[in-house]
Every structure is written in structure tokens, then in C-alpha cells.
């Protein structure tokens, strides 16, 4: 996985290779796919979470000033 194992060899090469992250040249596309899956997955999970929470709150039909009883005094 290591792209660089010896800085002296790397920087004294006739043409210095710029990309120095692990898996350079072989892993980028896979990383992008994983990233996109995580991003879309986040929307799916949090949308479900939010919908359930809003439905549950809506069922309780609280008044516009009820929240004041939740303000702590210390």
C-alpha cells in the first residue's frame, strides 16, 4: 500500500512522482465509490430518523407555549 518507502530514492528520481498517498494510482476509483455510498447512505438513514421523530412529535399535539415548562432554572 505504501507509495513511498524511501524519501531519498523518491526525491532523487529522474522524474519525481507527485502522488504520495497510500494506494496512489490503484485505489482512487474504489475510494470515490465508497465515498458516494456513504454520502447517499447518510441521507437515507437520517431521512428515516427525522421522519419518525417528526411523526412521533406531531402525534403528541403540544401547545405553542408548552416548551416553557422544559426550561430549567439553574
Amino acid at each position: 500500500m505504501a507509495t513511498v518507502t524511501n524519501w531519498i530514492d523518491h526525491l532523487s528520481a529522474e522524474e519525481v512522482v507527485g502522488a504520495i498517498y497510500p494506494g496512489a494510482g490503484s485505489s482512487e476509483t474504489l475510494l470515490v465509490i465508497v465515498g458516494i455510498v456513504l454520502w447517499i447512505g447518510w441521507h437515507v438513514l437520517t431521512n428515516k430518523q427525522e421522519s419518525e421523530k417528526l411523526e412521533s412529535m406531531a402525534r403528541k399535539k403540544r401547545g405553542a407555549n408548552d416548551y416553557k415548562s422544559n426550561i430549567t432554572d439553574w
Binding site: 519525481v16 512522482v17 507527485g18 502522488a19 504520495i20 498517498y21 496512489a24 494510482g25 482512487e28 476509483t29 475510494l31 470515490v32 465515498g35 458516494i36 454520502w39 441521507h43 437520517t46 431521512n47 427525522e50 421522519s51 421523530k53 417528526l54 411523526e55 412529535m57 406531531a58 402525534r59 403528541k60 399535539k61 403540544r62 401547545g63 405553542a64 408548552d66 416548551y67 415548562s69 422544559n70 426550561i71 430549567t72 439553574w74
Partner: protein, 466 residues
């Protein structure tokens, strides 16, 4: 890098943009603080989290596709040929500034010893993207779902503003060539589009419960914490300094760039690669801020909320031409923008029942729109680019700045790429039942359950003996 002067220039430029990014972070801090101050107690935490999530959502999508759009779309596509490859297609060829190098899986989108600018330049533009999304965020507080806002934030932050930046900000953009469009510090490219987008969403979203009486008279729902609003807006002002600096190229030799044989001319340039100075834009930033504050204090009769917002609106209105204006021109333009935006805000609110909770459409949208039009008159005849000077509609050369081009540019920014997509996406989300929170939740407060849980915990802690 083996040449010391090249190394110094490159690493100075890298560091310059990095500093602007850190400064611009304060814009987002300011927006978060400001929104919390403007929202009511029972919605505070939700309001904060909604705007905070702009940071990861716009960042990852900016990495995946936003940055690519900027480099791919300057030609339209199909409207005016690129000066790099003379094609009107998407710029995805082998040319130096092609989008090909900014696909998410290329080696330039990472730590690369051969490229020290892409990351910081990407980040500077990303911070502009957060700003665009944050502008929308303030207008729609207390009644939108976080899911819907996330989609809208990605749309404005990683798609639509980037298209307008490719068209009207990129040195190869078709709007410069066809229209002579000029918008050095983003009156339209960021502010008019984001304000227009917010207005499109507000039309569908509707007002907060209680905002309008049964006879349609608007009621004021003022900021609940004016001190947080104050701190928030001061932070936005501070971050705006970084924004101005980030819109410049700090050091560039225009001689070879313009093909001038034997000429060497090192200077700072604006985003269009035409000369300006950091010193000059500092004059104009401060004078337009002052013009906005003076006019805002007068028109709003000393109301702190509008006075602070007017400082911002003053800068936004003058931003299109602040690379070239005289400081007193910048001040007067800032004043004009504030007065018109303030009047328009209340007229639109009353006439169309639009509830813009923080005045974002006025401060960003109307002030940006007006600033573009004024710029067309004040800078009429200046070249929109240094590469070539041509006529409007030609397309292969660059038109000069002119009132008609700026007016059409303002329509494109505010209406075509701003309000229209905002309205359509909000309509789709509304159709899915995902746009607005239930009425019962809006009344009770989005934070109700969090507050209730905190109360129980705190009650237990306060009576604890061990």
C-alpha cells in the same frame, strides 16, 4: 521545484489561499451564530444543526462533482468556444485547466508534490459554496426539514452556483465573451443567485405560523437574541475580508499571459486575471461597508438588525466592481443598494406574503442584483478580460462591460440559476411531503423533545446527593 523563485511564488500562493480559507471559515461561524440569534428559543438547536450540516454535505459533494463542474462548464456548453481549445463542448480534453484533472478520482485531488495549488483553490471555492448554501438557510428557518434543506444546500452549493461561476467568473466563461459580464467579488455569482434560490424555495415553503394575520398583515418576528445576531454579523464581515482576498490571484505575470512580447508585469489580479490591488479593494470593502451601515441606520431608523445587515448589503452591492471603483463610488453604490433592498423586502413581504426570516433575499439577492446593474453603468467600456477585446454576441472575443450585459447577467444569476431551480426543487420536495415539518411540530418547537430530555436529566442531577 528546483528553482527558488518559482518555489517561493508557488508556496506563497498556496499559503495565501490557505489563509483565506481559514478566514472565510468565520463566515460560516457567523451564519450559525446569527441564525441561532434570529430563531426562537424552541427551535434553536435544530436551526444550528441544520446550518452546521452544510459543512459536510456541501464539502463531500463539492469533492465528488462540484469542482469538476466549475472547470467543465465555462463554454455553456455550446454557447461560446473556449480560448484554450476553441471548442464549445464541455472542457474535458487535455488542456491545462481542463475538468479532466478535477474528477474526484484523479491524483490531483489529493496530496501531490507536483500540484500545490489545486487543494487550496478547491477549498477557497468550497467556502464560497458554503456561503451560498448558508444564505438560503437563514431565510427558511423554523419550518423546513433537515432532509429537504440538505438537498437544497447541495443543489445551490455544489451545482447551481458552480454553473454560474463557470459561466460568469471563470476566465474562459461565455458570459464574459458574449455579454461582457463583470462580477469581481460575486454580487451575482454568489449573492444574487443564493438570494434568488432562497426566494424560489420560500414561495413553495410558505411563511411561519403566525407571521401574517388573518387579514394578511405581516407581523414582526424579531431576533430573539440581538447580541448573537450582532456577533454573527461581525463574524460574517470578518470572513468577508478573506472572501475578497480569495477572489484574487495574489501574484501573476500578466506579460506572457496576455502574449505581450518582452513585457513582464507582476501584479495581483482579480478572478478574471485582470489587474487590481489588494490595497485598492481594501479601500472599497471598507467604504462600501460604511455606505451600507450609514444608509441602513437611516432607512431602518436605527434598528440594529437591519443596520448590521445593511453593512453586509452595502459590500454585496458594490462587490461586482470593487476591483476598479473609486472608494466613494463604492460607498454611494453601497448606500443605493441598501435603500432599494430594504424597500423591496417589505414590499415583497406585504404583496406576496413571503416570510424571509432574516432578510436574506433582500441583503444578498436584491443587493447583488442591483449591484450588477449599477456596475454595468459605472464600469461601462472597461474590458471584461485581458485576453482580447471584442463586441457583444461575438463569442470568440471578450465583450466590454456594459449595462445590457450586466442586466442580462443579473437575470441569469437571480432568476435562471437561482429562483427557478429553487422553486422547482422545493416543489418536488413538497410533492414528496418532505419539505415542511408538520404543523404540530412547528407549534411545539423542533427542540421540544431535546429540551424535555435535558430537563429530566438536569432535575435528576440537581437532586442528586452523590
Amino acid at each position: 521545484m528546483t528553482d527558488q523563485l518559482t518555489a517561493l511564488t508557488t508556496i506563497f500562493t498556496e499559503f495565501y489561499y490557505w489563509v483565506t480559507v481559514v478566514m472565510m471559515f468565520l463566515i460560516h461561524v457567523g451564519f450559525c451564530v446569527y441564525e441561532v440569534g434570529a430563531s426562537r428559543y424552541k427551535h434553536h438547536q435544530h436551526t444550528l444543526m441544520k446550518n452546521t450540516m452544510v459543512v459536510p454535505l456541501v464539502t463531500v459533494t463539492w469533492f465528488f462533482f462540484g469542482w469538476w463542474i466549475y472547470w467543465a462548464f465555462p463554454t455553456g456548453p455550446g454557447i461560446a468556444p473556449s480560448i484554450m481549445n476553441e471548442s464549445s463542448a464541455l472542457i474535458t480534453d487535455e488542456s491545462t485547466f481542463s475538468a479532466r484533472w478535477y474528477v474526484a478520482n484523479t491524483e490531483f485531488m489529493a496530496v501531490n508534490l507536483g500540484d500545490r495549488i489545486s487543494g487550496v483553490f478547491w477549498a477557497a471555492f468550497l467556502l464560497f459554496s458554503w456561503t451560498a448554501a448558508s444564505i438560503v438557510s437563514g431565510a427558511i428557518i423554523e419550518r423546513i426539514t433537515t432532509f429537504a434543506f440538505g438537498i437544497l444546500a447541495i443543489a445551490i452549493g455544489s451545482v447551481f452556483w458552480v454553473i454560474d461561476a463557470a459561466w460568469g467568473w471563470h476566465f474562459d466563461g461565455w458570459m464574459l465573451k458574449i455579454l461582457g459580464y463583470h462580477d469581481a467579488y460575486a454580487s451575482g455569482v454568489i449573492h444574487a443567485i443564493a438570494g434568488g434560490f432562497a426566494l424560489g424555495v420560500l414561495v413553495v415553503l410558505g411563511p411561519r405560523i403566525g407571521k401574517f394575520s388573518s387579514s394578511g398583515e405581516p407581523r414582526n418576528i424579531g431576533p430573539r437574541n440581538p447580541w448573537l445576531v450582532t456577533v454573527g454579523l461581525f463574524l460574517i464581515y470578518t470572513g468577508f475580508w478573506g472572501f475578497y482576498a480569495a477572489c484574487n490571484i495574489p501574484i501573476f505575470d500578466l506579460g506572457p499571459e496576455y502574449g505581450m512580447e518582452g513585457v513582464t508585469y507582476w501584479t495581483a489580479t482579480n478572478i478574471y486575471v485582470t489587474p487590481t490591488t489588494l490595497s485598492g479593494i481594501t479601500f472599497n470593502f471598507l467604504m462600501s461597508l460604511s455606505g451600507g451601515l450609514l444608509a441602513g441606520y437611516w432607512i431602518a431608523k436605527g434598528d440594529p438588525f437591519w443596520t448590521y445587515s445593511s453593512g453586509l448589503a452595502g459590500v454585496i452591492c458594490a462587490s461586482a466592481g470593487n476591483d476598479l471603483y473609486h472608494p466613494i463610488q463604492a460607498m454611494i453604490i453601497g448606500m443605493i443598494g441598501v435603500v432599494i433592498s430594504y424597500k423591496l423586502h417589505y414590499w415583497v413581504e406585504r404583496k406576496f406574503k413571503i416570510d424571509d426570516a432574516v432578510g436574506a433575499v433582500a441583503v444578498h439577492g436584491y443587493a447583488g442584483f442591483i449591484g450588477l446593474i449599477i456596475c454595468g453603468f459605472v464600469l461601462n467600456g472597461y474590458p471584461s478580460s485581458g485576453y482580447s477585446v471584442g463586441a457583444m454576441w461575438d463569442g470568440s472575443t471578450y465583450a466590454s462591460i456594459n449595462p445590457l450585459g450586466q442586466f442580462l447577467g443579473a437575470i441569469i444569476m437571480f432568476g435562471v440559476l437561482g429562483m427557478l431551480p429553487g422553486y422547482i426543487i422545493a416543489k418536488v420536495l413538497h410533492g414528496m411531503g418532505k419539505l415542511r415539518i408538520p404543523r404540530e411540530v412547528e407549534l411545539a418547537g423542533l427542540d421540544y423533545e431535546m429540551m424535555e430530555a435535558d430537563k429530566e436529566a438536569e432535575k435528576a442531577v440537581s437532586t442528586a446527593t452523590r
